[in-house]
Amino acid sequence: MIEIKNITKVYGSAGAEKVRAVDGISFTIKDGEFVAIMGPSGSGKSTLMHILGALDTPTSGTYHLDGKDVSSLTDEELAEIRRNHIGFVFQSFNLLPRTTVLRNVSLPLMYAGVKVEEREARAKAALVSAGFNESHFLHLSNQLSGGQIQRVAIARALVNNPSLILADEPTGNLDTRTGEIVLGTFQKLNRENGSTIILITHEPDVAMHANRIIHIRDGKIVEDKINPNPTKARTDTVDKI
């Protein structure tokens, strides 16, 4: 369960012009929710996401994750949460350069202490559920197309079976069909594993797959509504794989 109260994030040091990227946002997201966050460019979506992912600290406000005050956690405890509970898909993907697809995806498993023999199987399963073609598993990360990179980044976020998946525009570079595969995977994880999913998107079509949609503008929530009829991703493609 995520509870944030009056979170702000102000960039810029004293004197210089300050940017209030996140400006007093509060909400609660219960376990098992599938939330889409929408908003224009520069509205503070990524900044908020980094705070939710325990990657960045807010300037003010409180953040409780599963009842724990994140600001009070040590470096080690934060690393443990990122390692075992959160899967993060970055807007700019961030794969390790000159490293194979398979190794990129198994990296979180290495830090989680998963046995070597088990890593490969789990990484392959995650890549398949992200719609990644098996023939490219041993390609290096700098030999991939934009869409392929995006799917590797998604697979890496899924590989450690996180209870919270944070995805920053995960379908931005994907064609509709591959986008559907990814959204279908998210819905399946949400439905079958009860994973909490928060995804950022510009596209209303994509947002309609979520159960709840939050609109942000200039760092503030302008709308927070339940989506009564989420679009079902065409899972036939997922099942085929």
Partner: protein, 407 residues
Amino acid sequence: MTLSDIYHETSSALRANKVRSGLTMLGIVIGISSVIALIAIGNGAQSSIQSSIQSIGSNLIIVMPGATRTPGSIVSAGRGTAQSLTNEDATAIASQVSGVVAADPEVSSNKQVTFQGTNTRTTILGTGDQYPTVRNLQIADGSYFTQNQITSLARVAVIGPTVVTDLMATGTEPVGQEIVIGGDTFTVIGVTVAKGGSGFTNQDDQIFIPLTTAQQLFTGNKYLSTISVEADNTNDMAAVQADITTLLLGRHSISNPTNADFSTINQADIAATASGITQTFTILLAAVAGISLLVGGIGIMNMMLTTVTERTREIGLRKAIGAKKSDISTQFLVEAVSLTFIGGGIGVALGILASYLVTTFGGITTSVTSSSVILAFCVSAGIGIIFGYYPARRAASLNPIEALRYE
């Protein structure tokens, strides 16, 4: 992270920048190999000096005329200049001091020596018949002169191998030849075994003649330039030395030991002085090599800092997907230590090779000791840890998002 993960991460990181890793390693290679080679040269010098000190005799005490000086200066001072020791002193030492195996009186002078038109200038040593025993002198050919020949002032000579090569054509049998020393004709009756040149004096470039003959022909008096005494065993050296001093003070009627007209020195003192000198020499060499090692270490730190800066985004990513601080710092520390370890290994091999080449082509004795190899290894690992620690810590404490945004 398992060991194989760390190995994989490290080797791929080092391989990603082969040239830079290689150059950084080169600093350590040069540092370690010069430490090994220079210490080997220092040790070699030490052991060759020690063995040449051993070769002048065993349990040797040397008595010289003149006032007491420090052990180091006695060796080089013009010995035999003062006139205070006599044949009788030598006889008295041999007969009256307990623990003495033999005491041999000697006079030395420098003379022109000619043989069938060839000539050389060398040291002429008049000795008693005990000289070969006391000074570890071995005869290769012929024999040393006897007490009878000494008593009869025989004109016989035992010559060193260098003298043989200086004077005689190769293939000449030296024994039986007549040589002229300072105008007087001597018959060669023996040739000594080569001891090898050592330090400043060449022990092979000497001619030995009976003491009495030398005193009669060359010095014209009864005084000695040295008495060489061989003690029974090493433990009694100090006691024997003290007894000799007491005996001679009595014989020369000197009551205050500080006014002694002779001085004694034992082999252990010479060895200690020489080893002190060579040790200083070794330390100096090691210090020079140590500086190059330090420079190599700074090279490692420089490279690791560059690497950390270059890979800031990667570090941010690793932390974002759950790497602990210790995972990151271990990774960078292992990278630094591997560089120094591989560099250290190559350095040790090169250092041993260099010492071998110095011995083969430079003719200088070297000795690579296992302790210097172990030292070099520990130092190189230590350099990796010390100079890798700071960059590793820096990498580990980066904030993940700031690191990811780093351009």
